[in-house]
């Protein structure tokens, strides 16, 4: 179980996060949504300890995350961040094997178990056929899946994804979400696409201006009032006839005149 207790984060006296408290139960797929600058990424970065909160507490199984050793935390929590993927030339296999780093001491070599885990992770992320290709020759979607395979090789019980579907075409977006949804672990993902969030997540957390606006099931959270208030859009809510999941339609009431100025 992950708990945030009155977590506050500020830079140069500006509050990026204002007293966030929340609880995440294991095994669920949690989506974090909110407009740009609402604090989604910051909250995730604090969660996976890239940033340190200014005040408040983040605990994992009742232990403060900053008290857990980096290695131990990496065995429990894997992250696919937004960081531009890879700069130098690694083969897909080498990169996925890096997911085993938290299990390795100074003198330990990669063993057959590591290879097996890497193979399985590559199969799960559907990149096994790319194993011997170098990363620089892959498409954006393939790279994202390789980074996911690397995170899976960490065998963590929590997977944090920061906008995993960014830059992916629609086929790969759906594919990635399908893949992640079936994993038997806790998933915490910041998402931009509200329809993807509605279709795949068990719970949604709505962030607005550094505060937690609402936390609940997609049906409870995605309401026209919330969308108006937080996302500043008008929306209609319907059902996707194929998946039976909720589907949102968006429009704005601002019209654009011929001179291109908004009224």
């Amino acid at each position: 179980m992950i708990q945030l207790h009155e977590v506050q984060y500020s830079v140069d006296e500006k509050d990026i996060l204002k007293s966030i408290s929340l609880e995440i139960i294991e095994g669920k797929f949690i989506g974090i949504i909110g407009p740009n600058g609402s604090g989604k990424s910051t909250m995730l970065k604090i969660l996976y300890r890239h940033l340190k909160q200014s005040s408040g507490k983040v605990t994992l199984h009742e232990q403060e995350v900053w008290d857990i050793s980096p290695k131990k935390l990496a065995r429990q929590m894997a992250v696919v961040s937004q960081e531009s993927t890879v700069l130098f030339d690694f083969t897909v296999r080498d990169l996925v094997m890096m997911g085993r780093t938290p299990y390795k001491g100074w003198l330990s070599a990669d063993n057959s178990e590591d290879v097996l885990i890497a193979d399985r992770s590559m199969e799960l992320a559907n990149v096994a056929h790319l194993a011997n290709r170098t990363l620089n020759n892959l498409s954006g979607g393939e790279k994202k899946r390789v980074m996911l395979a690397r995170a899976l090789a960490q065998q963590a019980s929590i997977l944090v994804l920061d906008e995993p579907t960014n830059h992916l075409d629609i086929e790969h977006q759906l594919h990635l979400m399908d893949l992640v949804k079936d994993l038997p672990i806790t998933i915490i993902a910041a998402l931009h696409d509200l329809n993807l969030a509605a279709a795949y997540c068990d719970e949604l957390i709505v962030m607005n201006d550094g505060t937690l606006h609402i936390h609940g099931t997609p049906e409870n959270v995605l309401t026209t009032t919330m969308l108006k208030e937080v996302f500043k859009i008008d929306a209609g809510i319907s059902k996707n006839p194929f998946t039976e999941k909720m589907h949102l339609f968006f429009y704005t009431n601002t019209k654009i005149d011929t001179k291109g100025e908004t009224q």
């Binding site: 960081e83 690694f90 083969t91 890096m98 780093t101 938290p102 170098t134």
Partner: protein
């Protein structure tokens, strides 16, 4: 083992076997024995150590700052060493160290410079890599100005030339007595770097990803900075600042085998050693019996080759999409 005095290969092998006790007598004259055993052998060994050390230091620094134009001197090592060396050559500083004064002063200058650069790059307990690069440049400029100032006020023409020669790098000072320290340092630092290959690889994925892979970034960086500056400092102290190798060799190796540091480090050491051994040979015979500074050879021969590889496009030099 070529040089200004002609000696046949058979004679060299004979002397080597004789000196290592595998041959009981030799036809070589005493003078030939001295040239081979006291001058040329240590020189080749030093070339090997210098080349390997600079290449692995460069590879490690490039991973550390995640910047492909970084070289081992980016932390101020060579400019610091130059100040130390120049003050010894021109003003006889540290003369109480006798023949080791030059190496000692150069090493001291190198370590001093790195410490300043590192302290400047630290802001509220965190070391920013871009600050490290920029403060390296700034500190190098100040130290370079100091070196130039000393050169300018010096009246000694011979001294000025000696400083120039030192700054361009030379293995001419190789003796059995001064390859010991570089050898020991290399034998400690190389395995330490090799054992850190996972962390170095992870750093290439970016600071954030590396930390989510369980690496204590601040501690690891400090560790790498310390061992790498120690190694470069020791090497620069005996050989002067030989350019090019530390920057280019890691790139050439990555072009051939990819970025996995498990392979990049040993191959860089090997290629660096080979390049410096051959470059030093070139330095000795190019304008024999005079010696050319080795830095001129490495830059003159290495750069065109590097440019050629650069034009082949397949390698991304750490550039993103």
């Amino acid at each position: 083992m070529v040089g200004s005095v002609g000696i046949t290969p058979q004679l060299i092998i004979e002397v080597l076997l004789y000196k290592t006790g595998m041959l009981s007598e030799t036809n070589a004259s005493n003078a030939q024995q001295v040239i081979i055993w006291e001058i040329r052998v240590p020189r080749v060994l030093l070339a090997l150590l210098v080349g390997a050390s600079l290449a692995i230091s460069g590879a490690a620094i490039q991973a550390l700052v995640k910047n492909s134009i970084a070289d081992p001197y980016i932390l101020g090592v060579s400019s610091g060493a130059s100040v130390g060396a120049t003050s010894v050559i021109l003003f006889g500083a540290f003369s109480f160290f006798g023949i080791f004064a030059l190496s000692f002063a150069a090493f001291l200058g190198a370590i001093f410079a790195v410490m300043i650069v590192f302290l400047l790059a630290r802001v509220s307990g965190k070391t920013s890599m871009i600050r490290l690069l920029l403060s390296g440049i700034a500190v190098s400029m100040v130290l370079g100005a100091m070196t130039n100032f000393m050169l300018m006020i010096s009246k000694e023409q011979g001294g000025v030339q000696a400083v120039m020669f030192w700054m361009l790098g030379s293995l001419g000072g190789a003796k059995w007595s001064n390859i010991g320290i570089p050898f020991i340092t290399f034998c400690i630092v190389f395995p330490l770097l090799l054992l850190s290959y996972r962390q170095l690889n992870a750093l290439l994925l970016g600071e954030e990803t590396a930390s989510t892979l369980g690496i204590n970034i601040e501690r690891f960086r400090l560790f790498i900075i310390i061992i790498v500056s120690l190694l470069t400092g020791v090497v620069v102290a005996v050989s002067g600042s030989i350019g090019f190798v530390g920057l280019i060799v890691p790139h050439i190796v990555r072009m051939i085998v990819g970025s996995n540091y498990k392979v990049v480090l040993p191959l860089s050491a090997l290629l660096g050693a080979i390049i410096i051994i051959w470059a030093d040979m070139g330095a000795r015979i190019a304008i024999a019996p005079e010696e050319m500074p080795i830095g001129i050879i490495t830059a003159l021969c290495g750069s065109p080759f590097f440019i050629w590889m650069l034009r082949r496009q397949r390698y991304a030099f750490g550039e993103g999409e």
